[in-house]
């Protein structure tokens, strides 16, 4: 007996065949599966198969204290864990009415943007690897490691930081940190021309990525596409601008868009966003010395903390799109309900299925990586 959902969807006519691009596959980001029906090399239908990473997060969070949940929230989205933490913490602060000190808000912005830089570098590598250009993956992972070094110095963990707590951040920057961040940003910005030569203006990649998985504006709005994928269709929508949180309304940054809506446009949008994130972190580093003060506001004893009853919905722009949390409290020391809406819940499932129809089989992996679909967010 094979696992239950190995059964074929239906009995296909003889010129079609079904191909399971199963969980153990280099063309799939993370642990995800995709069932294709093919006619020769063309995909006729695709069905996404999630659930390989399901941990029952929402149930787990209901059984832990508010402060204990901080340890597991970053693990919902593996490549880009910081927006998860920040949005959960913003929700708790909203429920309690906590006033976060200004310095902590700026530190949070720095952390979010550094995480966005790291996630985009990883995505460049992933997207390029689906077209066979593995050097970019090596470069992207190596450059991302420099950012992870910064995180390790700041919070103690390379990937999962648990740096935010309701009311602020855990600790302040170590001395000399500002110079190291500035050096890393200078280095990353000097690498962008190299990435352009290798990837973004390289005709091998451009010819492969142009016209793959095009989304029109109408389709994007209908299917609930958010984030860089939406901006690649030409719409200038960004949660940091439309629904500002933390101190984004005091920071000057552009929202890059492209027109074509295909895989190449999405890659170019991410590249521009990387530049913008570097700009934002530089502004934060400039402002931080002039904002002294505490890095957290006083909170009651976190082990015996009854958060007031209510519900809240926080939205944050992660590197993949709009990330939101719906948190309900009934006045107890544990959350009553936390619902995570990750951007990949739209991208990896419905959008991927619709975009893969009509494309060739070698482009399926590229569509998935160009949408930056992150399976842990889908399954939670």
């Amino acid at each position: 007996m094979r696992p239950e959902n190995y059964e074929a969807q239906r009995h296909p006519p003889s010129h079609e065949y079904e191909l399971f691009i199963g969980p153990n596959h280099p063309g799939i980001e993370g642990n995800y599966a995709f069932k294709l029906r093919l006619h020769g090399d063309r995909v006729i239908e695709g069905k996404a198969d999630a659930g390989y990473l399901h941990r029952g997060f929402e149930k787990l969070m209901e059984g832990r204290l508010w402060i204990q949940n901080l340890a597991i929230t970053p693990r919902i989205c593996v490549p880009d864990p910081v927006p998860m933490e920040v949005s959960y913490v913003l929700a708790v602060e909203d429920l309690c009415g906590l006033e976060v000190p200004l310095r902590a808000q700026w530190l949070r912005v720095m952390q979010l943007e550094l995480s966005r830089i790291a996630a985009h570098l990883f995505t460049f590598g992933g997207h390029a690897a689906t077209t066979g250009m593995y050097s970019t993956m090596y470069w992207g992972v190596a450059d991302r490691d420099l950012v992870l070094d910064l995180f390790e110095e700041l919070c103690g963990g390379r990937v999962y930081h648990i740096y935010n707590i309701p009311g602020g951040v855990r600790r302040d920057m170590p001395p000399g940190f500002t110079e190291r961040v500035a050096n890393t940003l200078d280095y990353l910005e000097s690498r962008l021309p190299d990435y352009d030569n290798l990837l973004f203006t390289n005709q091998v990649f451009v010819q492969r990525a142009r016209g793959i998985g095009p989304i029109s504006r109408q389709q994007a709005l209908e299917w609930g596409v958010t984030g860089p994928n939406l901006r690649a269709t030409g719409l200038k929508f960004d949660v940091r601008r439309d629904d500002p949180y933390l101190v984004y309304d005091q920071i000057d940054f552009e929202i890059p868009t492209e027109e074509a809506g295909d895989a190449l446009a999405r890659a170019l949008v991410r590249r521009s966003e990387l530049k913008e994130s570097i700009k934002i972190v530089r502004q934060v580093l400039e402002r931080l010395p002039s904002i002294p003060g505490p890095i957290r506001c006083p909170i009651p004893n976190p082990l015996a903390w009854n958060v007031p009853a209510g519900s809240t919905y926080t939205r944050v722009e992660s590197s993949k799109g709009e990330l939101s949390w719906y948190v309900v409290s009934n006045g107890k020391e544990r959350p009553y309900r936390t619902h995570v809406r990750g951007p990949s819940q739209m991208h990896a499932v419905q959008v991927l299925e619709r975009l893969s129809v009509g494309c060739r089989i070698e482009d399926v992996a590229q569509i998935m990586f160009s949408l930056d679909a992150c399976p842990p967010e889908v399954d939670r």
Binding site: A8, P13, H25, N31, H54, G56, M137, V141, R158, V159
Partner: protein
């Protein structure tokens, strides 16, 4: 006694002396030389099947690429389980993934090694309350090395791999034999989780006989259930839906 005296000191591992003949090998002294050479060569060229089962997979690219460079130890990523030596279970395994991990493990050819990365494979880790993740990986598969961490740094992954390389060199990484020798135990745990009619396409008992590892614990109550629920794995029934050819179809 102070607390310091109670700390265990890790003894240096002594290699087995060359003159000892292995059990069942006869008294030909040259047989050992080949075995040791093969073990040495095998330990230095491992193909790793990077089945990114969970969170820990994000620290594998840094370990594989230029900064921490696993390839200088001879460990190279490989896509297909048929040609891989090591199954890296990076992170927690949900029940759905565990079925595929077992299928993948059985597709690998012997000798094969399993490394359980992250604390979730050890004892449930951070998701110990979760209804959807497996808690103890070596209930379902024999595991050679666990690398604890949440998640372990690339240096920790490489240290674990070096331990595995040492074990293989000394001929101690034989957990794959345990799967054949105690198949009933593993199958029992698998059936307890997946249901009584759990089956895989691999004929593990036949393989156990082939490798000469068929032991008293290979068969048991759980393998008896295999025969009971056995379904032949035949090809899918193709129906041709062309009306003109309907009259030729089998009734």
């Amino acid at each position: 006694m102070s607390a310091l005296d109670k700390i265990q000191v890790r003894e240096e591992r002594l290699p087995p002396s060359k003159g000892q003949a292995q059990a069942g090998k006869g008294t030909n002294p040259l047989a050992n030389v080949f075995d040791e050479l093969i073990n040495f060569a095998r330990s230095r060229s491992l193909f790793m099947l990077h089945y990114c089962t969970g969170c820990g997979a994000i620290e594998l690219p840094p370990a594989m690429t230029s900064r921490f460079d696993m390839e200088r130890l001879g460990v190279q990523p490989m896509v297909s389980p048929r040609q891989a030596d090591i199954l890296l279970v990076t992170g927690y395994v949900s029940v759905k993934t565990l079925k595929r991990v077992i299928l993948t493990y059985e597709q690998m050819s012997a000798p094969k090694y399993v490394i359980g990365i992250c604390s979730c494979t050890v004892n449930g880790g951070m998701y110990w309350q979760s209804y959807a993740t497996a808690k103890k990986l070596n209930d379902y598969l024999p595991v050679d090395i666990y690398i604890a961490g949440c998640m372990p740094r690339p240096e920790a992954v490489i240290a674990g791999l070096r331990d595995l390389i040492e074990n293989i060199k000394h001929g101690e990484a034989n957990s794959w034999k345990d799967y054949y020798q105690r198949y009933d135990h593993y199958l029992g745990n698998q059936q307890r989780l997946f249901g009584e009619d759990w089956q895989t396409p691999t004929n593990v008992i036949g393989e156990a006989r082939h490798y000469g590892l068929f032991g008293p614990e290979t068969l048991g109550a759980h393998t008896a259930l295999l025969e009971q629920y056995q379904r032949p794995l035949d090809a899918l029934d193709m129906k041709i839906e062309i009306p003109e050819l309907q009259r030729f179809q089998r009734p």
